[in-house]
């Protein structure tokens, strides 16, 4: 590793160092707030160094053949670090009353973040896989962290088994592609594929397996079955990390892979992606209609949103890359805010408040939290003046620019269907506590549990003053700014494009 490569890697190195420091701190003396502060400080320092690295490395800088630091990587590093910061602040509030060991959660969080960071900077199958496993393995522990709760253990086990299977698919796909192209660097794979005369079916099979594995990770239909259960069972901040950082890392890597290998030249692949997108949009929106659990609802909405993002990926081009960047940014902030409200509402209790009927009348007791959740739900629904609308607008623009009318129709229909459950969830916050009116059609509008007097909704009285609340206030400001004055963020996303890579001089020849 030469001298200029160390500053380029500084965000990754800082997070690694923080994880080592946290490990030592836990070994020396357990102290929840100290460990949380060290993690937050380390992540913040990494974010600052990303902001410093970005202008310095405007021309892409490759680290051996494995990693590349360019504006694209810096943008997604920044988004992942913001997500990790918010999640660690929320974890501090969430674990405040937890009786068991609390500090290891931060260590797992840092390692998972590190894996995600490696993934977004990766341009080689090996770093892809290392990053993927480093991202996923701590997540198994994080999801199952509340070992005394059946649902948390179940979520962790489900995620472990399915994620390991997905990783196996990915490795198999990588092996098949490598066997035909002889290289693992993304840019060279594209060049080699263009020259390929036979063995195309093996490459197609490898690409299909890779897509299946990535589909699991991104919870695209029909590989989505784990998502609602894991979101429901995992602790709320962990679910938000799973929903944002891990998916961002995988999607950014997929985007870089598709651009570098020019995969959109192959009609078979484009059709497969389009089918996945339409299925995800339909499944995500339709299955959420009957949900009465807020976390499961957010899980299904995540499935639909990644369907929308896939449409932007299919409609390739510079506008599409910008669209994906904006959408991932707005989606992450919105999801973090929604899970943040769930965290804060649950924090004084010893169980999570998940049922929609338990949120009834939240506005009249905690107007701030209810307003944040309302804004988050409206943003997920895509109502203008919210952050989510900006993302949806960009995706529609990318689709119109490439005349993808079928996919656009799917987005419009999916959004229309999705409005129903977002509105139903949102209005719960404003209803006064009391029995629902007796009417034959109330089952359409109110979850069944709402017919009884719901439990009192709780949250700390001065919720804005502890770490999770502070993070939530920052997220609210970001959501409002993205909706009303998004120009600075658009400039960031615009700068985060990918330049086509020249082929690397070092290629290992494979014996045929």
């Amino acid at each position: 590793m030469t001298h200029p490569q160390l500053p380029a890697l500084s965000p990754i190195l800082i997070v690694s160092a923080t994880s080592v420091v946290v490990m030592l701190a836990i070994a020396i003396k357990r102290h929840h707030t100290f460990v949380a502060s060290v993690s937050i400080a380390g992540l913040a320092l990494a974010l600052v160094s990303t902001a410093g690295v970005w202008p310095a490395f405007a021309t892409p800088h490759a680290i051996m053949a494995l990693l590349i630091i360019d504006p694209f990587a810096c943008f997604y590093l920044g988004v992942i670090l913001i997500a990790a910061l918010a999640v660690s602040a929320l974890l501090h509030t969430y674990l405040g009353r937890y009786q068991g060991h609390r500090e290891e959660m931060y260590l797992l969080l840092l390692l998972s973040t590190l894996g995600g960071m490696i993934m977004v900077a990766s341009r080689h199958f090996v770093s892809f896989f290392i990053g993927l496993e480093l991202l996923s393995m701590p997540m198994y522990g994080m999801a199952a962290y509340l070992v005394n709760e059946r649902r948390s253990l179940e979520a962790g086990m489900k995620y472990l088994v399915l994620s390991a299977v997905a990783s196996a698919f990915i490795v198999f796909g990588m092996a098949l592609i490598y066997s035909q192209t002889g290289t693992m660097v993304f840019g060279d794979i594209g060049a080699k594929l263009a020259e390929l005369t036979d063995g195309e079916s093996i490459v197609m099979l490898g690409a299909a397996l890779l897509l299946i594995g990535l589909g699991f990770k991104l919870s695209l239909a029909p590989f989505h079955l784990w998502t609602p259960d894991v979101y429901e069972g995992a602790p709320a901040p962990v679910a938000s990390f799973l929903a944002t950082a891990s998916k961002i890392a995988v999607f950014a890597l997929l985007l870089r892979y598709v651009i570098d290998t020019q995969a959109t030249r192959y009609a078979v692949l484009v059709n497969a992606l389009a089918t996945l997108a339409i299925l995800s949009i339909v499944v995500g929106n339709v299955l959420a209609l009957r949900q009465s659990n807020l976390k499961r609802l957010l899980a299904y909405s995540a499935i639909a949103h990644f369907g929308y993002m896939l449409v932007a990926l299919i409609a390739s081009g510079p506008l599409a890359t910008e669209a994906v960047g904006i959408y991932l940014l707005t989606y992450s902030i919105t999801t973090l805010a929604a899970f943040g409200v769930i965290t804060l509402v649950s924090s004084p209790l010893d169980h999570e408040v998940q049922a929609l009927s338990d949120y009834r009348g939240l506005f009249w007791q905690h107007p701030g939290l209810a307003a944040i959740l309302t804004l988050a739900l409206l943003s997920l629904a895509g109502v203008p003046l919210t952050a989510g609308f900006l993302g949806k607008f960009y995706v529609l623009g990318a689709g119109v620019d490439r005349r993808q009318w079928l996919l656009l129709g799917a987005i419009v229909s999916g959004s229309a269907v999705g409005l129903y459950f977002y509105l139903r969830a949102m209005i719960q916050l404003y209803l006064r506590a009391g029995p629902a009116p007796a009417s034959a059609d109330t089952a359409l509008c109110f979850p069944a549990a709402a017919r009884s007097i719901p439990a009192a909704v709780s949250a700390p009285v001065h919720w804005a003053w502890d770490a999770g609340g502070g993070a939530l206030v920052v997220l609210l400001l970001l959501m409002l700014t993205l909706g009303v004055y998004p120009s600075p963020f658009i400039k960031l996303a615009q700068g985060a494009g990918i330049e086509p890579q020249p082929p690397t001089p070092m290629l290992t020849a494979v014996r045929r």
Partner: protein, 518 residues
């Protein structure tokens, strides 16, 4: 700058109302009333001090047009989006209508809303701010933003303060149906807007959402037709056009009184405004292809709305169906392509807004006293009130189209203008005049005449309600007997639209408005 104030005043006033709730509902009510009165004063000031003889579209052969008032700042330069507002005669009339109905909506909900009045007025005022934004926006992204944003406060109004139908659907059903219908149509319109913007970008290399820049986008007729259909779908759900109207009876009848007044008086008119401001000028070639279909849909709406209205037992639902029927006239008039028809459309917009508001306020007052809106439980009410039935008679006659009142003028001009270019369509639409007499008189008969269930006198209108209804009555009579000020303000936009859409019809319509209305 005044344009920005028109938007900001209701917005800030609404936020203030919500905050004042903790000090008592009376403060919130007064602030809401004061805010809307200030907005009305601003609109009136703009009317009296401005020159509305020009509009942006060129009306003469070589004269370029301009807005009477304009405000524009950059917003998202990457996408060519500016925060730009513009005012001409058409926008001014509609903004004044909005402000007036806003004052009356706040006034009529003085006693009706007991719980969370501050939050109610916040939603009401934010809704009005959104609607004013729709009428003022001259950037297509901003127009779409206000178009969608005005739905959210209305959703809250219907869902939280509306009425459930006893034995029927809860109000949340009506609110969600309203939101889903209008939002998804709006998304189709957004795709059409993006298609237009990208077509302009491909032709000229400039990415912009500005209204003036997009006006003469060169595109093939086929592209223009598809984009036109996208826009038309967005407006058709809001207007509403008959196959897509099923959200309206539920939303209108289950909304609180102030919500119904704003829905019928103003929100439906945003669709008519959209047709006049965006649909006709942006796609003149494709409009000629769509016109027969649209006019047939208009006639269908007139007849269907009237027939359904006749069969209703719920008074508010009956009035809601009459709105569908009146909006059918507007649809016919917009696509007729003559200046008389367009002037008639604008007059119908104003007159229907006022008369529908009056009818909904009356229904609300009857409900407050009788605890029912079912016509089967009413009857013989003329003897039990001293003032309310007279107002009822007046507004029902206005809705019927009695000459001398504004609605007659609007419908007559539309028919006159349509007859010049599509005589058969005008004859069919005129059937609507007969049907409107039928449903109006049946409403009058069932509610106020006939056998009554009890004989005791009921509490009559108090001073506040008397003032509201008298002012509505005064405006209706003014529209019917002395419409000259309104026609003068709207002359420039209608002439420009007519010149744009049917140059052949310019020769045909030698009758100017002065000869029809001296």
């Amino acid at each position: 700058m005044t344009l920005l104030c028109l938007l900001v005043v209701p917005f800030i006033g609404g936020s203030l109302c919500c905050w004042l709730q903790r000090f008592g509902a009376a403060h919130a009510r007064r602030v809401a009333l004061g805010t809307m009165a200030l907005t009305l004063a601003l609109a009136a000031g703009l009317w009296l001090s401005g020159d509305y003889s020009q509009t942006l579209l060129p009306s003469g052969a070589s004269q370029p047009g301009h807005w009477a008032q304009h405000f524009s700042v950059p917003w998202i330069p990457r996408l060519g989006i500016r925060f730009s507002l513009g005012l001409d005669g058409l926008s001014l009339l509609l903004v004044t209508l909005t402000a007036l109905l806003g004052v009356l909506a706040v006034a009529c909900s003085w006693r009706e809303i007991e719980s969370d009045a501050g939050f109610f007025y916040m939603n009401l005022l934010w809704n009005l701010a959104g609607v004013i934004g729709v009428f003022l926006a001259t950037d297509l992204f901003l127009f779409f933003l206000f178009w969608e944003v005005m739905l959210v406060p209305m959703f809250f109004l219907i869902a939280l303060w509306g009425h459930d139908i006893p034995g029927g659907r809860p109000r949340l059903y009506a609110a969600i149906k309203f939101f889903i219908f209008t939002q998804s149509a709006g998304l189709v319109m957004l795709v059409a807007i993006l298609a237009l913007v990208f077509a302009h970008y491909r032709a000229s290399g400039v990415l912009t959402f500005g209204y003036a820049d997009l006006l003469a986008t060169p595109m093939s007729t086929r592209t223009g037709l598809w984009i036109l259909i996208g826009f038309f779908l967005g407006f058709a759900v809001k207007l509403p056009v008959v196959p897509l109207h099923s959200w309206l009876p539920d939303a209108h009848s289950q909304a609180p009184t102030a919500g119904s007044v704003i829905l019928a008086g103003v929100l439906l008119k945003t669709a008519a405004y959209g047709l006049l401001r965006y649909l006709l000028p942006l796609f003149p070639a494709a409009v000629a292809q769509l016109a027969p279909v649209a006019m047939w849909l208009g006639v269908l709406g007139i007849v269907y709305g009237a027939v359904c209205a006749f069969g209703q037992n719920d008074a508010k639902r009956l009035v809601a169906y009459t709105s569908i029927s009146h909006m059918g006239f507007i649809l016919v008039g917009v696509f007729a392509g003559t200046e008389e028809a367009l002037q008639g459309v604008i007059m119908q917009i104003l007159a229907h807004g006022i008369s529908a508001a009056g009818l909904f306020i009356l229904c609300g007052e009857l409900y407050e006293r009788l605890e029912t809106r079912d016509l089967r439980n009413m009857g013989g009410l003329w003897a039990r009130f001293s003032n309310l039935p007279q107002f009822g008679l007046f507004f029902i006659l206005a809705s019927l189209g009695l000459p001398g009142l504004g609605n007659f003028l609007g419908e007559f001009l539309i028919l006159l203008g349509t007859f010049k270019t599509h005589p058969g369509m005008a004859m069919l639409a005129a059937v609507g005049l007969v049907l409107s007499a039928v449903y109006s008189l049946i409403l009058m008969q069932r509610a106020f005449y006939g056998r009554s269930g009890a004989d005791s006198p009921l509490p009559d209108l108090d001073r506040r309600e008397f003032a509201i209804l008298s002012s509505l009555m005064a405006v209706t009579i003014w529209l019917g007997l002395y419409p000259r000020p309104f026609f003068e303000v709207s002359r420039a936009p209608t002439q420009a639209l007519q010149a744009l859409n049917s140059p052949a019809a310019t020769a045909a319509s030698t009758t100017s408005i002065e000869r029809v209305v001296p």
